[in-house]
Symmetry: C2
Subunit: 250 residues, 2 copies
Protein backbone atom coordinates (compact mmCIF):
# COMPACT_ATOMS: atom_id res chain seq x y z
CA UNK A 1 0.00 0.00 0.00
CA UNK A 2 2.96 2.24 0.58
CA UNK A 3 4.30 1.87 -2.89
CA UNK A 4 1.18 2.68 -4.90
CA UNK A 5 -0.16 6.17 -4.48
CA UNK A 6 -3.55 6.26 -2.82
CA UNK A 7 -5.70 8.01 -5.38
CA UNK A 8 -8.61 7.25 -7.63
CA UNK A 9 -6.41 6.33 -10.56
CA UNK A 10 -4.99 3.41 -8.63
CA UNK A 11 -7.87 2.51 -6.34
CA UNK A 12 -11.65 2.49 -6.55
CA UNK A 13 -12.56 5.78 -4.85
CA UNK A 14 -14.48 5.75 -1.58
CA UNK A 15 -14.50 1.98 -1.36
CA UNK A 16 -12.80 -0.37 1.07
CA UNK A 17 -12.82 -4.00 2.18
CA UNK A 18 -12.97 -5.18 5.78
CA UNK A 19 -12.39 -8.77 6.79
CA UNK A 20 -13.74 -10.52 9.87
CA UNK A 21 -11.37 -13.47 10.22
CA UNK A 22 -12.59 -16.17 12.60
CA UNK A 23 -10.50 -18.91 14.13
CA UNK A 24 -11.42 -21.57 16.72
CA UNK A 25 -9.07 -22.42 19.56
CA UNK A 26 -9.34 -23.44 23.22
CA UNK A 27 -13.10 -23.56 22.85
CA UNK A 28 -13.15 -19.90 21.89
CA UNK A 29 -14.25 -18.30 18.66
CA UNK A 30 -11.49 -15.77 18.06
CA UNK A 31 -11.25 -12.91 15.66
CA UNK A 32 -8.10 -11.41 14.14
CA UNK A 33 -7.70 -7.73 15.07
CA UNK A 34 -5.15 -5.03 14.38
CA UNK A 35 -3.89 -2.06 16.33
CA UNK A 36 -1.64 0.60 14.88
CA UNK A 37 0.54 2.77 17.03
CA UNK A 38 -1.11 6.01 15.81
CA UNK A 39 -4.52 5.00 17.13
CA UNK A 40 -5.57 3.66 20.50
CA UNK A 41 -8.38 1.63 19.05
CA UNK A 42 -8.36 -1.73 17.37
CA UNK A 43 -9.70 -2.41 13.90
CA UNK A 44 -10.57 -5.18 11.50
CA UNK A 45 -7.94 -5.98 8.89
CA UNK A 46 -8.85 -4.29 5.64
CA UNK A 47 -7.69 -2.63 2.49
CA UNK A 48 -8.62 -0.73 -0.62
CA UNK A 49 -9.76 -2.05 -3.99
CA UNK A 50 -7.23 -1.69 -6.82
CA UNK A 51 -8.85 -0.18 -9.88
CA UNK A 52 -7.89 -3.25 -11.91
CA UNK A 53 -9.08 -5.87 -9.43
CA UNK A 54 -12.46 -7.46 -8.74
CA UNK A 55 -13.68 -6.74 -5.22
CA UNK A 56 -13.51 -10.45 -4.34
CA UNK A 57 -9.88 -10.60 -5.44
CA UNK A 58 -9.07 -7.58 -3.28
CA UNK A 59 -10.62 -9.38 -0.30
CA UNK A 60 -8.56 -12.51 -0.95
CA UNK A 61 -5.43 -10.36 -1.01
CA UNK A 62 -6.21 -8.84 2.41
CA UNK A 63 -6.80 -12.29 3.81
CA UNK A 64 -3.67 -13.89 2.36
CA UNK A 65 -1.54 -10.94 3.44
CA UNK A 66 -2.84 -11.09 6.99
CA UNK A 67 -2.85 -14.83 7.64
CA UNK A 68 -0.11 -16.10 5.36
CA UNK A 69 -2.63 -18.67 4.10
CA UNK A 70 -4.06 -19.48 0.68
CA UNK A 71 -7.43 -20.98 -0.25
CA UNK A 72 -9.31 -19.75 2.77
CA UNK A 73 -13.08 -19.99 3.11
CA UNK A 74 -14.23 -16.43 2.44
CA UNK A 75 -17.70 -14.96 2.03
CA UNK A 76 -19.01 -11.51 1.35
CA UNK A 77 -21.79 -10.85 3.85
CA UNK A 78 -22.80 -7.17 3.75
CA UNK A 79 -21.84 -3.69 2.62
CA UNK A 80 -21.78 -0.77 5.03
CA UNK A 81 -22.39 2.73 3.75
CA UNK A 82 -23.59 5.12 6.39
CA UNK A 83 -22.63 8.74 5.69
CA UNK A 84 -20.91 8.60 9.08
CA UNK A 85 -18.29 6.28 7.60
CA UNK A 86 -15.62 8.95 7.65
CA UNK A 87 -12.84 9.07 10.13
CA UNK A 88 -13.82 11.93 12.46
CA UNK A 89 -10.41 11.91 14.09
CA UNK A 90 -8.41 11.85 10.94
CA UNK A 91 -5.20 13.70 11.48
CA UNK A 92 -2.45 14.12 9.02
CA UNK A 93 0.15 12.41 11.19
CA UNK A 94 -1.31 9.24 9.73
CA UNK A 95 0.10 10.36 6.38
CA UNK A 96 3.58 10.68 7.84
CA UNK A 97 3.15 7.38 9.56
CA UNK A 98 2.33 5.61 6.33
CA UNK A 99 4.78 7.77 4.36
CA UNK A 100 1.97 9.00 2.19
CA UNK A 101 2.45 12.26 0.28
CA UNK A 102 0.42 15.12 1.76
CA UNK A 103 -1.49 15.75 -1.46
CA UNK A 104 -2.97 12.26 -1.22
CA UNK A 105 -4.40 13.21 2.16
CA UNK A 106 -7.86 13.93 0.80
CA UNK A 107 -8.15 10.24 0.02
CA UNK A 108 -8.77 9.63 3.72
CA UNK A 109 -11.32 12.37 4.27
CA UNK A 110 -14.04 11.00 1.97
CA UNK A 111 -16.82 8.67 3.06
CA UNK A 112 -15.78 5.06 2.58
CA UNK A 113 -18.38 2.47 1.72
CA UNK A 114 -16.92 -0.82 2.93
CA UNK A 115 -17.64 -4.35 1.80
CA UNK A 116 -17.56 -6.87 4.62
CA UNK A 117 -16.18 -10.38 4.14
CA UNK A 118 -15.91 -13.06 6.75
CA UNK A 119 -13.39 -15.85 6.72
CA UNK A 120 -13.03 -19.12 8.61
CA UNK A 121 -9.47 -20.26 9.10
CA UNK A 122 -7.62 -23.05 10.85
CA UNK A 123 -6.22 -21.25 13.87
CA UNK A 124 -3.16 -23.47 14.07
CA UNK A 125 -2.17 -22.90 10.45
CA UNK A 126 -2.66 -19.14 10.32
CA UNK A 127 0.35 -16.97 11.05
CA UNK A 128 -0.84 -13.40 11.70
CA UNK A 129 1.22 -10.99 9.62
CA UNK A 130 2.07 -7.45 10.65
CA UNK A 131 2.22 -4.81 7.96
CA UNK A 132 5.12 -3.19 9.79
CA UNK A 133 6.78 -3.27 13.18
CA UNK A 134 4.58 -0.57 14.68
CA UNK A 135 1.54 -2.72 14.32
CA UNK A 136 0.01 -5.27 16.66
CA UNK A 137 -2.04 -8.10 15.19
CA UNK A 138 -3.74 -10.54 17.53
CA UNK A 139 -6.35 -13.25 17.89
CA UNK A 140 -8.93 -12.03 20.40
CA UNK A 141 -11.87 -13.98 21.84
CA UNK A 142 -15.02 -12.57 20.19
CA UNK A 143 -16.48 -12.14 23.66
CA UNK A 144 -13.65 -9.88 24.75
CA UNK A 145 -13.27 -7.57 21.80
CA UNK A 146 -12.00 -4.11 22.83
CA UNK A 147 -13.32 -0.83 21.42
CA UNK A 148 -13.01 -0.77 17.63
CA UNK A 149 -12.71 2.16 15.22
CA UNK A 150 -15.68 3.55 13.28
CA UNK A 151 -18.49 0.98 12.83
CA UNK A 152 -16.16 -2.04 12.98
CA UNK A 153 -18.01 -3.44 15.98
CA UNK A 154 -21.23 -3.38 13.96
CA UNK A 155 -19.45 -5.11 11.08
CA UNK A 156 -18.11 -7.79 13.42
CA UNK A 157 -21.54 -8.33 15.00
CA UNK A 158 -23.16 -8.66 11.60
CA UNK A 159 -20.54 -11.21 10.52
CA UNK A 160 -21.19 -13.28 13.64
CA UNK A 161 -24.94 -13.03 13.09
CA UNK A 162 -24.48 -14.19 9.49
CA UNK A 163 -22.29 -17.08 10.59
CA UNK A 164 -24.96 -18.19 13.08
CA UNK A 165 -27.65 -18.06 10.44
CA UNK A 166 -25.50 -19.95 7.97
CA UNK A 167 -25.14 -22.81 10.44
CA UNK A 168 -28.74 -23.55 9.47
CA UNK A 169 -27.87 -23.57 5.80
CA UNK A 170 -24.53 -25.22 5.37
CA UNK A 171 -22.03 -27.48 7.08
CA UNK A 172 -19.29 -25.79 9.04
CA UNK A 173 -16.12 -27.00 10.63
CA UNK A 174 -13.92 -27.96 7.71
CA UNK A 175 -12.10 -24.68 7.90
CA UNK A 176 -12.18 -24.31 11.66
CA UNK A 177 -11.20 -27.74 13.00
CA UNK A 178 -8.07 -29.83 12.57
CA UNK A 179 -8.29 -32.69 10.09
CA UNK A 180 -9.23 -35.26 12.73
CA UNK A 181 -11.65 -34.42 15.49
CA UNK A 182 -14.14 -35.97 17.88
CA UNK A 183 -17.90 -35.43 17.86
CA UNK A 184 -17.70 -33.58 21.20
CA UNK A 185 -15.14 -31.21 19.64
CA UNK A 186 -17.41 -30.57 16.68
CA UNK A 187 -20.36 -30.00 19.03
CA UNK A 188 -18.27 -27.56 21.05
CA UNK A 189 -17.58 -25.57 17.87
CA UNK A 190 -21.32 -25.30 17.16
CA UNK A 191 -22.04 -24.38 20.76
CA UNK A 192 -19.36 -21.70 20.74
CA UNK A 193 -20.65 -20.11 17.55
CA UNK A 194 -24.29 -20.30 18.64
CA UNK A 195 -23.40 -19.35 22.21
CA UNK A 196 -25.68 -22.00 23.69
CA UNK A 197 -25.64 -25.58 24.89
CA UNK A 198 -26.91 -28.24 22.50
CA UNK A 199 -28.36 -31.57 23.47
CA UNK A 200 -25.70 -34.25 22.88
CA UNK A 201 -27.97 -36.88 21.36
CA UNK A 202 -29.88 -34.44 19.20
CA UNK A 203 -26.65 -33.01 17.88
CA UNK A 204 -25.25 -36.44 17.10
CA UNK A 205 -28.44 -37.41 15.27
CA UNK A 206 -28.56 -34.24 13.19
CA UNK A 207 -24.90 -34.07 12.31
CA UNK A 208 -24.86 -37.75 11.35
CA UNK A 209 -27.99 -37.26 9.24
CA UNK A 210 -26.19 -34.71 7.04
CA UNK A 211 -23.83 -37.46 5.91
CA UNK A 212 -20.58 -35.49 5.80
CA UNK A 213 -18.69 -37.34 8.53
CA UNK A 214 -16.30 -40.24 8.08
CA UNK A 215 -15.59 -42.32 11.17
CA UNK A 216 -11.90 -43.19 11.43
CA UNK A 217 -10.47 -46.39 12.80
CA UNK A 218 -8.67 -44.35 15.41
CA UNK A 219 -9.32 -43.06 18.90
CA UNK A 220 -8.29 -39.82 20.45
CA UNK A 221 -5.08 -40.26 22.39
CA UNK A 222 -4.14 -38.52 25.63
CA UNK A 223 -7.54 -39.26 27.05
CA UNK A 224 -7.56 -40.99 30.42
CA UNK A 225 -10.67 -43.16 30.30
CA UNK A 226 -12.98 -44.06 27.47
CA UNK A 227 -11.31 -42.56 24.42
CA UNK A 228 -13.74 -41.01 21.90
CA UNK A 229 -13.59 -41.94 18.23
CA UNK A 230 -11.94 -39.67 15.74
CA UNK A 231 -13.79 -38.43 12.65
CA UNK A 232 -12.90 -36.53 9.54
CA UNK A 233 -15.02 -34.76 6.95
CA UNK A 234 -15.87 -36.58 3.74
CA UNK A 235 -14.65 -33.74 1.53
CA UNK A 236 -16.75 -34.62 -1.54
CA UNK A 237 -19.99 -34.86 0.41
CA UNK A 238 -19.09 -31.77 2.41
CA UNK A 239 -18.62 -29.78 -0.80
CA UNK A 240 -21.87 -31.13 -2.19
CA UNK A 241 -23.87 -30.08 0.88
CA UNK A 242 -22.07 -26.73 0.92
CA UNK A 243 -23.27 -26.19 -2.63
CA UNK A 244 -26.84 -27.38 -2.25
CA UNK A 245 -27.50 -26.32 1.32
CA UNK A 246 -28.84 -28.23 4.28
CA UNK A 247 -32.46 -29.08 4.18
CA UNK A 248 -33.12 -28.38 7.82
CA UNK A 249 -32.31 -25.96 10.55
CA UNK A 250 -30.81 -26.68 13.87
CA UNK B 1 -31.10 12.75 -11.57
CA UNK B 2 -31.30 15.28 -14.38
CA UNK B 3 -31.12 18.23 -12.06
CA UNK B 4 -28.07 17.29 -10.02
CA UNK B 5 -24.86 17.04 -11.96
CA UNK B 6 -23.44 13.55 -12.05
CA UNK B 7 -20.05 13.98 -10.50
CA UNK B 8 -18.18 12.90 -7.41
CA UNK B 9 -19.10 16.03 -5.50
CA UNK B 10 -22.76 15.08 -5.62
CA UNK B 11 -22.60 11.30 -5.78
CA UNK B 12 -20.40 8.60 -4.31
CA UNK B 13 -18.01 7.86 -7.19
CA UNK B 14 -18.07 4.47 -8.89
CA UNK B 15 -20.96 3.22 -6.79
CA UNK B 16 -24.52 2.35 -7.75
CA UNK B 17 -27.60 0.63 -6.38
CA UNK B 18 -29.65 -1.97 -8.25
CA UNK B 19 -33.02 -3.20 -7.03
CA UNK B 20 -34.62 -6.55 -7.77
CA UNK B 21 -38.29 -5.83 -7.08
CA UNK B 22 -40.44 -8.95 -6.78
CA UNK B 23 -44.22 -9.08 -6.97
CA UNK B 24 -46.57 -12.10 -6.94
CA UNK B 25 -49.54 -12.28 -9.31
CA UNK B 26 -51.39 -14.95 -11.27
CA UNK B 27 -49.21 -17.57 -9.60
CA UNK B 28 -46.13 -15.97 -11.09
CA UNK B 29 -43.20 -14.42 -9.33
CA UNK B 30 -42.67 -11.27 -11.35
CA UNK B 31 -39.81 -8.80 -11.41
CA UNK B 32 -39.96 -5.11 -12.29
CA UNK B 33 -37.76 -4.29 -15.28
CA UNK B 34 -36.93 -1.18 -17.27
CA UNK B 35 -36.09 -0.51 -20.88
CA UNK B 36 -34.87 2.80 -22.19
CA UNK B 37 -35.22 3.78 -25.81
CA UNK B 38 -31.45 4.21 -26.26
CA UNK B 39 -30.75 0.60 -25.45
CA UNK B 40 -32.29 -2.60 -26.73
CA UNK B 41 -31.73 -4.42 -23.50
CA UNK B 42 -33.68 -4.39 -20.29
CA UNK B 43 -32.24 -3.53 -16.92
CA UNK B 44 -32.98 -3.58 -13.22
CA UNK B 45 -34.17 -0.28 -11.77
CA UNK B 46 -31.26 1.45 -10.09
CA UNK B 47 -29.60 4.70 -9.21
CA UNK B 48 -26.58 6.39 -7.74
CA UNK B 49 -25.76 7.16 -4.11
CA UNK B 50 -25.94 10.85 -3.14
CA UNK B 51 -22.84 11.89 -1.25
CA UNK B 52 -24.98 12.92 1.71
CA UNK B 53 -27.13 9.79 1.88
CA UNK B 54 -26.63 6.38 3.48
CA UNK B 55 -26.61 3.58 0.92
CA UNK B 56 -29.79 2.09 2.43
CA UNK B 57 -31.59 5.42 2.06
CA UNK B 58 -30.54 5.64 -1.56
CA UNK B 59 -32.02 2.18 -2.13
CA UNK B 60 -35.31 3.19 -0.50
CA UNK B 61 -35.46 6.19 -2.83
CA UNK B 62 -35.06 4.03 -5.93
CA UNK B 63 -37.79 1.74 -4.68
CA UNK B 64 -40.25 4.48 -3.76
CA UNK B 65 -39.62 6.30 -7.03
CA UNK B 66 -40.21 3.17 -9.08
CA UNK B 67 -43.23 1.68 -7.34
CA UNK B 68 -44.96 4.72 -5.85
CA UNK B 69 -45.01 2.83 -2.54
CA UNK B 70 -43.62 3.56 0.90
CA UNK B 71 -42.53 1.15 3.62
CA UNK B 72 -41.58 -1.69 1.35
CA UNK B 73 -39.74 -4.79 2.56
CA UNK B 74 -36.21 -4.23 1.32
CA UNK B 75 -32.99 -6.13 1.93
CA UNK B 76 -29.44 -5.72 0.82
CA UNK B 77 -28.24 -9.09 -0.45
CA UNK B 78 -24.88 -8.71 -2.22
CA UNK B 79 -22.43 -6.30 -3.79
CA UNK B 80 -21.10 -6.84 -7.29
CA UNK B 81 -17.71 -5.47 -8.24
CA UNK B 82 -16.13 -7.28 -11.16
CA UNK B 83 -13.72 -5.09 -13.13
CA UNK B 84 -15.97 -5.86 -16.10
CA UNK B 85 -18.68 -3.68 -14.55
CA UNK B 86 -18.22 -0.93 -17.11
CA UNK B 87 -20.56 -0.29 -19.95
CA UNK B 88 -18.64 -1.59 -22.99
CA UNK B 89 -21.14 0.00 -25.36
CA UNK B 90 -21.25 3.36 -23.69
CA UNK B 91 -21.87 5.98 -26.29
CA UNK B 92 -22.24 9.65 -25.73
CA UNK B 93 -25.75 9.81 -27.17
CA UNK B 94 -26.79 8.65 -23.71
CA UNK B 95 -25.59 12.01 -22.43
CA UNK B 96 -27.81 13.85 -24.90
CA UNK B 97 -30.64 11.56 -24.01
CA UNK B 98 -30.40 12.35 -20.31
CA UNK B 99 -29.50 15.98 -21.04
CA UNK B 100 -26.22 15.50 -19.22
CA UNK B 101 -23.38 17.97 -19.94
CA UNK B 102 -20.62 16.38 -22.03
CA UNK B 103 -17.95 17.03 -19.40
CA UNK B 104 -19.81 14.78 -17.00
CA UNK B 105 -19.43 11.97 -19.52
CA UNK B 106 -16.49 10.40 -17.76
CA UNK B 107 -18.84 9.57 -14.89
CA UNK B 108 -20.21 6.75 -17.01
CA UNK B 109 -16.92 5.30 -18.16
CA UNK B 110 -15.60 4.23 -14.74
CA UNK B 111 -16.17 0.82 -13.18
CA UNK B 112 -19.29 0.82 -11.04
CA UNK B 113 -19.47 -1.37 -8.00
CA UNK B 114 -23.17 -1.96 -7.43
CA UNK B 115 -25.00 -2.86 -4.25
CA UNK B 116 -27.92 -5.22 -4.83
CA UNK B 117 -31.15 -4.92 -2.86
CA UNK B 118 -34.22 -7.06 -3.24
CA UNK B 119 -37.73 -5.97 -2.42
CA UNK B 120 -41.03 -7.78 -1.97
CA UNK B 121 -44.06 -5.73 -2.89
CA UNK B 122 -47.80 -6.21 -3.11
CA UNK B 123 -48.29 -6.44 -6.86
CA UNK B 124 -51.75 -4.91 -6.73
CA UNK B 125 -50.62 -1.85 -4.80
CA UNK B 126 -47.49 -1.03 -6.78
CA UNK B 127 -47.82 1.42 -9.64
CA UNK B 128 -44.70 1.19 -11.82
CA UNK B 129 -43.35 4.69 -12.46
CA UNK B 130 -41.52 5.75 -15.60
CA UNK B 131 -38.72 8.23 -15.27
CA UNK B 132 -39.76 9.78 -18.57
CA UNK B 133 -41.93 8.99 -21.55
CA UNK B 134 -39.19 7.24 -23.49
CA UNK B 135 -38.97 4.56 -20.89
CA UNK B 136 -40.82 1.27 -20.55
CA UNK B 137 -41.27 -0.23 -17.10
CA UNK B 138 -42.94 -3.60 -16.76
CA UNK B 139 -43.61 -6.57 -14.50
CA UNK B 140 -42.11 -9.62 -16.17
CA UNK B 141 -42.41 -13.24 -15.04
CA UNK B 142 -39.01 -14.22 -13.60
CA UNK B 143 -39.05 -17.25 -15.87
CA UNK B 144 -39.34 -15.12 -18.99
CA UNK B 145 -36.80 -12.41 -18.35
CA UNK B 146 -35.30 -11.06 -21.60
CA UNK B 147 -31.61 -10.25 -22.06
CA UNK B 148 -30.41 -7.75 -19.46
CA UNK B 149 -27.55 -5.23 -19.56
CA UNK B 150 -24.16 -5.90 -17.96
CA UNK B 151 -24.36 -8.49 -15.14
CA UNK B 152 -27.98 -7.72 -14.25
CA UNK B 153 -29.02 -11.29 -14.95
CA UNK B 154 -26.46 -12.50 -12.43
CA UNK B 155 -27.76 -9.96 -9.91
CA UNK B 156 -31.34 -11.12 -10.47
CA UNK B 157 -30.35 -14.79 -10.12
CA UNK B 158 -28.50 -14.07 -6.91
CA UNK B 159 -31.51 -12.21 -5.50
CA UNK B 160 -33.76 -15.16 -6.30
CA UNK B 161 -31.27 -17.58 -4.77
CA UNK B 162 -31.16 -15.44 -1.62
CA UNK B 163 -34.96 -15.29 -1.45
CA UNK B 164 -35.12 -19.10 -1.68
CA UNK B 165 -32.59 -19.51 1.09
CA UNK B 166 -34.36 -16.98 3.26
CA UNK B 167 -37.57 -19.01 3.04
CA UNK B 168 -35.76 -21.34 5.44
CA UNK B 169 -34.98 -18.53 7.82
CA UNK B 170 -37.96 -16.24 7.95
CA UNK B 171 -41.66 -16.05 7.22
CA UNK B 172 -42.61 -14.67 3.85
CA UNK B 173 -45.88 -13.58 2.33
CA UNK B 174 -46.83 -10.50 4.28
CA UNK B 175 -45.47 -8.29 1.54
CA UNK B 176 -46.45 -10.47 -1.37
CA UNK B 177 -50.02 -11.55 -0.64
CA UNK B 178 -53.22 -9.56 -0.18
CA UNK B 179 -54.36 -9.08 3.41
CA UNK B 180 -56.66 -12.10 3.35
CA UNK B 181 -55.61 -15.31 1.69
CA UNK B 182 -56.19 -19.05 1.74
CA UNK B 183 -53.64 -21.70 2.71
CA UNK B 184 -53.53 -23.00 -0.89
CA UNK B 185 -52.69 -19.45 -2.03
CA UNK B 186 -49.87 -19.21 0.50
CA UNK B 187 -48.59 -22.62 -0.52
CA UNK B 188 -48.65 -21.57 -4.16
CA UNK B 189 -46.47 -18.58 -3.28
CA UNK B 190 -43.89 -20.86 -1.65
CA UNK B 191 -44.04 -23.29 -4.56
CA UNK B 192 -43.55 -20.48 -7.06
CA UNK B 193 -40.53 -19.08 -5.26
CA UNK B 194 -38.98 -22.51 -4.69
CA UNK B 195 -40.01 -23.67 -8.15
CA UNK B 196 -41.21 -27.04 -6.88
CA UNK B 197 -44.34 -28.79 -5.62
CA UNK B 198 -44.76 -29.09 -1.87
CA UNK B 199 -46.77 -31.75 -0.08
CA UNK B 200 -50.08 -30.19 1.02
CA UNK B 201 -50.22 -31.74 4.50
CA UNK B 202 -46.57 -31.18 5.28
CA UNK B 203 -46.87 -27.55 4.26
CA UNK B 204 -49.98 -27.06 6.39
CA UNK B 205 -48.27 -28.64 9.38
CA UNK B 206 -45.11 -26.58 9.03
CA UNK B 207 -46.74 -23.26 8.34
CA UNK B 208 -49.19 -23.72 11.22
CA UNK B 209 -46.33 -24.66 13.52
CA UNK B 210 -44.68 -21.26 12.98
CA UNK B 211 -47.67 -19.63 14.64
CA UNK B 212 -48.00 -16.56 12.44
CA UNK B 213 -51.40 -17.31 10.89
CA UNK B 214 -54.78 -16.10 12.13
CA UNK B 215 -57.80 -18.03 10.88
CA UNK B 216 -60.63 -15.66 9.95
CA UNK B 217 -64.30 -16.36 10.37
CA UNK B 218 -64.69 -15.94 6.65
CA UNK B 219 -64.58 -18.14 3.58
CA UNK B 220 -63.26 -17.33 0.16
CA UNK B 221 -66.11 -16.19 -2.08
CA UNK B 222 -66.48 -16.91 -5.80
CA UNK B 223 -65.59 -20.49 -5.22
CA UNK B 224 -68.00 -23.05 -6.64
CA UNK B 225 -67.82 -25.92 -4.19
CA UNK B 226 -66.21 -26.27 -0.82
CA UNK B 227 -64.98 -22.74 -0.05
CA UNK B 228 -61.57 -22.62 1.69
CA UNK B 229 -61.07 -20.60 4.85
CA UNK B 230 -59.47 -17.21 4.74
CA UNK B 231 -56.43 -16.40 6.87
CA UNK B 232 -54.43 -13.33 7.68
CA UNK B 233 -51.02 -12.85 9.25
CA UNK B 234 -50.79 -12.12 12.95
CA UNK B 235 -48.59 -9.06 12.43
CA UNK B 236 -46.99 -9.05 15.91
CA UNK B 237 -46.03 -12.71 15.77
CA UNK B 238 -44.91 -12.33 12.16
CA UNK B 239 -42.57 -9.48 13.13
CA UNK B 240 -41.28 -11.48 16.05
CA UNK B 241 -40.41 -14.50 13.90
CA UNK B 242 -38.94 -12.19 11.25
CA UNK B 243 -36.62 -10.82 13.90
CA UNK B 244 -35.62 -14.07 15.59
CA UNK B 245 -35.69 -16.38 12.61
CA UNK B 246 -37.38 -19.70 12.04
CA UNK B 247 -35.92 -22.60 13.88
CA UNK B 248 -36.29 -25.07 11.05
CA UNK B 249 -35.85 -25.41 7.34
CA UNK B 250 -38.44 -26.42 4.86
Amino acid sequence: MKEILLNSENYQPGLSIDCVIFGFHDNQLKVLLIKTSYDNKWSLPGGFVPIKEDIDTAAVTVLNDRTGMQGIFLRQFATFGSIKRKDPNFDSTVLDYFEIPKDAGQWFTQRFVTIGYYALVDFLKAIPQKEDNHEIIEWIDHKEVPELILDHKEILDKALHTLRIELNLMPIGYNLLPEKFTIPELQKLYETILDKKLDRRNFLRKITHIGILKKLDEKKSNVAHKAPNLYTFDKDKYEEVLKNGLNQGW
